[in-house]
Structure formats: structure tokens, C-alpha cells
Amino acid sequence: MANLSEELEPSFMHEVANTPRGKGVLTCIQCGRCSSSCPIARLVDEHNPRRLMEMIILGSRDEVLHTKLPWYCLSCFTCLDRCPQGGDVAEVMFAIRNLAVKEGNVADGFAAQGRSLVETGRIVNPTMMMIKKREKLGLSKGPSTATEEVQKILKKTALDKLIASKRTVKK
């Protein structure tokens, strides 16, 4: 396991707890039920939700936000189901991802989804071939999309700028 003795920032715990969906980190008693239930932790050693919570408590901000750690989670809520503290490990995961994205650390797949959302108002759009097939079957081209309204909203929430500023990830 990496040596964590680089700069530890105790304020990181405060930062995550005050991020929406992040306050669950404070209820964690390190019991290990989430990591032993997580389908990903079973397959991959790097991903361990319990250890991630301990890293947040300790304040290893750099290790958590500037690596691939936030991007293993399936958001399948099994950990949330098993956590005796009603703590929100899965919810905290979203908080860390939001913070990571602010620092330019975005998993490629989600960045692509973001771009498609900003351009078309949807993540997935029917291909030309699919549109032809749908029309042949008497179906509409697909549900109508209020793209401009979406773009106005995303300008207000500055999601467009957020995705544009992607920086390379450390590990």
C-alpha cells in the first residue's frame, strides 16, 4: 500500500462532509461490511470502500481525488444496504466524484456522457440507421428533446465548463 506520509490534509474530511451526499463519511466505524459486500472489491484489490472512507477521515486528499480510486464504483448501493450505520458509502462515492471532477479528474466514459449531454440534451441518441428502422416500424424518431433548455440550465450550473477542463489523471 502506498506510503501516505505525504502531506495529509485534515480539512479533507470537512470538505467531503460538507459536499452534498458526503456527510455519511462521519458515521463510518470501519466495520468492513461494505468492502466485503462490494462486487468490485471482490475482483480488484485497489478498490476498497472502507479503506477509502478511512483515507478521507485521515485527509489523504491527493491520493483520493487525483487517482482512479473514485472511478471503480458501480453505484449499485449494496454497501448502502449492508452498512450498519445507515452510513451512505455509495452516496459518499458521488461526493468524491464531484470533487474529483472539479479537479479535472473525470473517467473518460462519464466525460463523454457529459459532452453528449451538453451538445444534444441526452447521453444516448438513436443512430441514423435506428431512426430509419423506427420510422419503418411506425415509431417516432425518438422522444422530442428540449436541447436549448438543457443547454441554458447546464450553462447556469457551469457543467459545460467543468467537462471542458479535463486534466490528466496521476495513476
Partner: protein, 440 residues
């Protein structure tokens, strides 16, 4: 005013017995009301006790006998408190003696009736693992040493009545109402076990080889359903690998019990040592969150389990248990949080340590006594630090697990404390009441 000072004690477990014996020994009449057919409480179900490994019944039975033989103690078993009126120093209590359908003065507990009774039902004393007849004595050392007829399951064939040489069976006995005048009341109703079925990921109630610790204690006991042999319930074989899981329902903020039941880490250690004594090559694992070793001699007890017996303590609460339907083996998924590795281990038997919770009928009893319960439904102390034994009603005291999680020595000490507070109450109210009780 009271002719003779008397105290009502509700609950015949070790706390109730100790409080009654203390009061009786100093000349105060003790009415000990116990809901089940015999006093003895939870301790009677245990095989051994920590940290000394005394056989539980061997140190409990003499106390039960001394208590029941004491001239100042009146045992009201198979009875319940129905109504309480009056105030400190002068309570009037109505107790309902449920019909036992056996005359206590005649029955000597010889067991002829049991041999002839055709009806077999699961025995609550064995947590349902063993069977008992419709006419039964909960356990061999029961006090009073007499049979009780369980009318729900009795088919009224009358065989027991026929074979009883002492003519003690009386199948048309009626409930009896008794009125008592007491100066103080002590509540000692003990605890129940959290229903481990509610933690569905551990499969209790679905997987046969997942037991609760009290069921396992019955397997360990010589008076238990297997005469003290530890067996797998699926195939009756001797289990080689056994895992204990702590905090099942305890320390949980998601709708189960948010507190620590205090005794499970230590009794799990005891049961682990007993397994190793029964079968030295067996492997025993204890999965825990924080090992609670705070009591006198507890840490040394755990050290012995680790070094002398080789019990393995793993800091990591398992996420799930799966059953191999063919073999009945159990696959535990856990993370050893010390080395951060997520692993699987296959064991023959899993023993869950469920939370210990207040008795369900504490609500009804609290209403009868007009005492407050706390948010867990334990009885609420007037002041947790300086008046832990007083309730909000003067003259009504409490001791043992019904006040909060504690082990046997703390319950016994607190039971003596309740006896002191009751005696103090009687001394104060009787001196106020004019007639000098002579003890000043």
C-alpha cells in the same frame, strides 16, 4: 401501615434471586414473582460462565435453593403482576397465578408423568432445539422442582393424572389472584434476544447451520438437546470449523439496536474456548468490529483464548453468508480490515451473537407501574450516574439487564443495590409513617 415490611421483586433471574435473598436475609419479606414455571432466568440456560469457566448451573442452583428455602422468601412462579396501586411504602399489588394444573405441595418432580405424556413440542428452554412433553419441567434443576402442564399443547388424555402416585395433577385448576401489600418494588425482568432473521444477509432461519449463541449454549450444555455434543444441524456431524459473528443487530443505526450489548465478545470467547476443549483440532474464528474486553479479567481471558487455545480473532464484520445447498457448508464473505484483503472462508457452523434487547412486555409492565422507559425500551434511570437504580416513581427500583446492558457480576452487585434502596425506602417511609420499625 405495613405489619411486616415486604418487597415485591418482578423477575426470577439471577438479579431477582440476589435481591430477594439479600432482603430476606435481613428480615424483610420478599415476594419473588416469575413469569415462567421456574426461577433461574437466562443463567440457567448457560453451560459455563466467563471468565472463570464455572459451570453456570453449579453456581446458580445453590443460590436458587437457598433463596427458595429461605423463610422470608415467597416464590410466586408461573405468575404475573396484573395491577399496582398506592405509593412508596404502601403498594397494593394484584398478582395472577397462572394455573400449573399441578399441586406444588404434592409434586416431587419424579418425572413419571413426563414419561407417559404422548405430546412432544419444542422446548423454549432449549431455544426450540430440544423437545419437551406437554407436562414438563423446564430443566432438571428447576426450582420449584415441580411439573407444569402446557394447556395449549395438552390433549387432555389424563395419562399424567393416572400415573401420578402423589395425585399432584389437577387438570381443572383455575387462575388464582393474590393481593400483596409491599413497601417497595424491584423490577428485574432481564432481556430477550434480537431476532437474527432481520439481518437477512446472514441467513439465520434459512440456513440450518446458522445458530444463535443461546442455541449454541444449549448444544454445549449437558442438559441440552444433544447432551453437550456440538453437532451440525444438517447432518449431525462434528463441525471442524466454526465462526462467530459479533454485533448482529447491535451497534446498528439503521433501525436495529444502536447500542453495544457489552457481553457478546466475552461470551463468544468462552464458547470458542469450550469448542477447543471439546475438539482441539477444530478451528474457531471470531469476526468482530471492536473487541470489548473492559470487564475484570476479560482481557486476560481473551489472551488465553488466543495463546493457549489458538482462537482466531478477525477484525472485520462479514458482509454476507452464502450456503452451499448440497453440503450445508457456509461461505462467509469478509474483509480482514487489518490487511485490507477481501476473502471468503467456508465453515461448518456459524454462531451469531445477536443484540440483547429489553423484554417485549416491558411496555405493559411499565404502564402497570407507571414507570418510564428509555428510547430503547429499557427501564429509565432517574439519574444514570448518581441514581442508576431508581426509576421515576419513588419506591420502584430496578436492577440487571432490564436497566441496560451488563454482565452477571454487575447485575448481582446492582441487585444488592436495589435491595439496599428498597430497604432504605421502607426504613424512611415507616419512620415517617409513625410506627417505628425498630431497625433505627
Amino acid at each position: 401501615m405495613l405489619e411486616k415490611p415486604a418487597v415485591l421483586i418482578i423477575g426470577g433471574g439471577i438479579s431477582g434471586i440476589q435481591a430477594s435473598f439479600d432482603l430476606a436475609s435481613r428480615g424483610i419479606k420478599a415476594y419473588l414473582v416469575e413469569k415462567s414455571p421456574s426461577i433461574g432466568g437466562r443463567m440457567a440456560q448457560l453451560d459455563k460462565t466467563f471468565p472463570t469457566m464455572d459451570c453456570s448451573m453449579c453456581i446458580l442452583a445453590p443460590k436458587m435453593i437457598d433463596c427458595s428455602h429461605h423463610p422470608n422468601v415467597e416464590l410466586l412462579t408461573y405468575s404475573e403482576v396484573k395491577e399496582v396501586k398506592g405509593s412508596a411504602g404502601n403498594f397494593t399489588v394484584k398478582v395472577i397465578k397462572k394455573p400449573r394444573y399441578v399441586d406444588l405441595t404434592k409434586c416431587t418432580g419424579c418425572g413419571m408423568c413426563v414419561d407417559n405424556c404422548p405430546v412432544e413440542v419444542p422446548n423454549e428452554f432449549d431455544e426450540g432445539l430440544g423437545m419437551r412433553k406437554a407436562i414438563y419441567m423446564p430443566f432438571p434443576q428447576a426450582v420449584p422442582r415441580a411439573m407444569t402442564v402446557d394447556k395449549e399443547n395438552c390433549i387432555e388424555c389424563g395419562l399424567c393424572e393416572k400415573v401420578c402416585e402423589a395425585e399432584a395433577v389437577d387438570l381443572d385448576q383455575e387462575p388464582e389472584e393474590i393481593k400483596l401489600k409491599v413497601g417497595a418494588i424491584i423490577v428485574a425482568t432481564g432481556f430477550e434476544m434480537f431476532d437474527a432473521r432481520r439481518i437477512s444477509e446472514y441467513g439465520y432461519g434459512r440456513y440450518q447451520n446458522v445458530l444463535t449463541s443461546l442455541e449454541f449454549e444449549r448444544l454445549l450444555s449437558a442438559s441440552g438437546p444433544t447432551g453437550g455434543h456440538i453437532v451440525r444441524l444438517t447432518d449431525g456431524g462434528v463441525p471442524r470449523r466454526i465462526a462467530f459473528i459479533q454485533c448482529v443487530g447491535s451497534r446498528s443505526q439503521r433501525g436495529e439496536l444502536p447500542y453495544c450489548s457489552s457481553v457478546c465478545c466475552t461470551y463468544a470467547t468462552k464458547e470458542a474456548i469450550l469448542i477447543k476443549e471439546h475438539n482441539p483440532e477444530s478451528e474457531v474464528y471470531i469476526f468482530y468490529i471492536d473487541l470489548k474486553v473492559f470487564g475484570k479479567g476479560f482481557q486476560e481471558f481473551v489472551n488465553r483464548a488466543k495463546t493457549e487455545y489458538g482462537v482466531e480473532y478477525i477484525k472485520g464484520h462479514p458482509g454476507k453468508i452464502e450456503e452451499n445447498p448440497k453440503t450445508g457448508d457456509l461461505i462467509i464473505r469478509y474483509e480482514n480490515t487489518i490487511d485490507g484483503k477481501v476473502r471468503e472462508i467456508t465453515v461448518d457452523l456459524v454462531v451469531l451473537c445477536p443484540a440483547l434487547i429489553p423484554r417485549r412486555d416491558n411496555e405493559r409492565l411499565a404502564e402497570t407501574l407507571k414507570v418510564e422507559l428509555d428510547e430503547y425500551a429499557f427501564f429509565k434511570a432517574k439519574d444514570p450516574l448518581f441514581a442508576p437504580i431508581n426509576t421515576n416513581i419513588s419506591g420502584v427500583f430496578m436492577c440487571g439487564y432490564c436497566q441496560g446492558p451488563k454482565d452477571i457480576p454487575e447485575s448481582v452487585a446492582q441487585a444488592s443495590g436495589a435491595a439496599a434502596k428498597a430497604a432504605e425506602e421502607i426504613a424512611l417511609t415507616s419512620s415517617k409513617g409513625g410506627v417505628d420499625s425498630g431497625s433505627k
